[in-house]
């Protein structure tokens, strides 16, 4: 019956995802001790996004969810992106352009 209600994932797959998450954790911790300049932040965030994607897709079953749930998931993270990107684009570009003389 419950197979009709929701998809039941293979147990082995959960252990594979768990192992991948642990590898990513070791990787991100190790890389933090290597000087990559500005790339340190990029690598750390890229690994975090990969880990979050694994949790969302497999542990949270979004891989087998219907479209409506996926819209909410994508919407949530897209709005977060709008909040951060537009806020930081304000601060990062201040002083780049001088005010015109008539202002």
């Amino acid at each position: 019956m419950s197979e009709l209600i929701s998809h039941i994932e293979n147990k082995r797959l959960y252990f594979v995802i768990w192992a991948l998450l642990l590898c990513f954790t070791a990787l991100t911790t190790g890389v933090a001790f290597i000087d990559l300049g500005a790339m340190n932040t990029v690598v750390a965030l890229a690994i975090a996004v990969c880990k979050a994607a694994l949790v969302v897709l497999f542990f949270m079953h979004v891989r087998h969810s219907e479209g409506l749930v996926r819209v909410v998931v994508v919407g949530a993270f897209f709005w977060l992106l709008i909040l951060i990107v537009i806020s930081i684009s304000d601060f990062a570009t201040r002083g780049l352009v001088r005010n015109p003389h008539w202002l």
Binding site: M1, S2, L4, I5, S6, I8, E9, K11, Y14, F15, I17, W18, L21, L22, T25, T28, T29, A32, F33, I34, D35, N40, T41, A44, L45, I47, A48, K51, A52, V55, V56, F58, F59, M60, H61, S65, E66, L68, V69, V72, V73, G75, A76, F77, W79, L80, L83, I84, S87, I88, F91, A92
Partner: protein, 218 residues
């Protein structure tokens, strides 16, 4: 539809599958609000980090990266056992369900213990608790203090979510032992799982943002 089956489906739903979808969707809408709840703090953290980068890197280096990484591993393990608990509920295996929920609960308590008894205590003893005993000798003390404010509020709110999760797990364990769940009735376990994994995701971002990207190599 059998009589027993019919009582499992609330009046407003056509069948069990639709009821299950509605429960998941509702939880995801709540989690979307949670993304933006933490998002406001993360956005302000990003801006202040941009404005006071050197001080934020100094602050970051005062955190205990070993405990941060340990807690990341603890939470990932708890997510695995939570996923297995949901799977046991889907299969209607009561004993497995209860064991996995108890293991998840233990991992959750372990996280909180490390957070408070090792990390927060260590930072308090280092005189890094803003508003309580902050005392930092350095040119950018005020901005290091700001980093510590973000650290305590972000990890504190995350810990609060963990405490709520521990309460939810305790409730589920009691309900499961009273036979509240079956192969056809496990929505509560499923959506509690979604919540638990979400709290894990928040930590997956907090760990690099607070502990790692502060120039650990220098």
């Amino acid at each position: 539809m059998s009589e027993a089956h019919a009582t499992l489906v609330a009046e407003q739903f056509d069948d069990l599958a639709q009821q299950h979808q509605a429960a998941s969707l509702g939880m995801w809408v709540f989690l979307a609000t949670e993304v933006l709840f933490f998002g406001g703090l993360l956005a302000s953290y990003t801006i202040y980090r941009y404005l006071y980068l050197p001080a934020f890197e100094v602050g970051s280096r005062h955190l205990e990266v070993v405990w941060g990484a340990t807690n990341t591993v603890v939470l990932i393990c708890s997510s695995l056992t939570m996923a297995l608990a949901v799977r046991a509920a889907q299969l209607g295996k009561k004993k497995h369900l209860i064991s996995f929920l108890v293991v998840t609960l233990i991992f959750g308590l372990m996280f909180l213990f490390i957070k408070f008894a090792f990390e927060w205590r260590h930072e308090y003893l280092d005189h890094l608790a803003p508003g309580i005993n902050f005392d930092f000798a350095g040119p950018q003390a005020r901005h290091v203090e700001l980093f510590m404010v973000f650290y305590f509020i972000l990890t504190g709110l995350h810990a609060l979510h963990m405490i709520i999760g521990v309460g939810v797990l305790t409730g589920l364990i009691i309900m499961a032992s009273r036979n509240a769940f079956s192969k056809d009735r496990f929505n509560a376990v499923e959506i509690a799982g979604l919540y638990w994994h979400f709290v894990d995701i928040v930590w997956i971002f907090l760990f690099p943002l607070l502990y790692l990207i502060g120039g650990r190599y220098s």
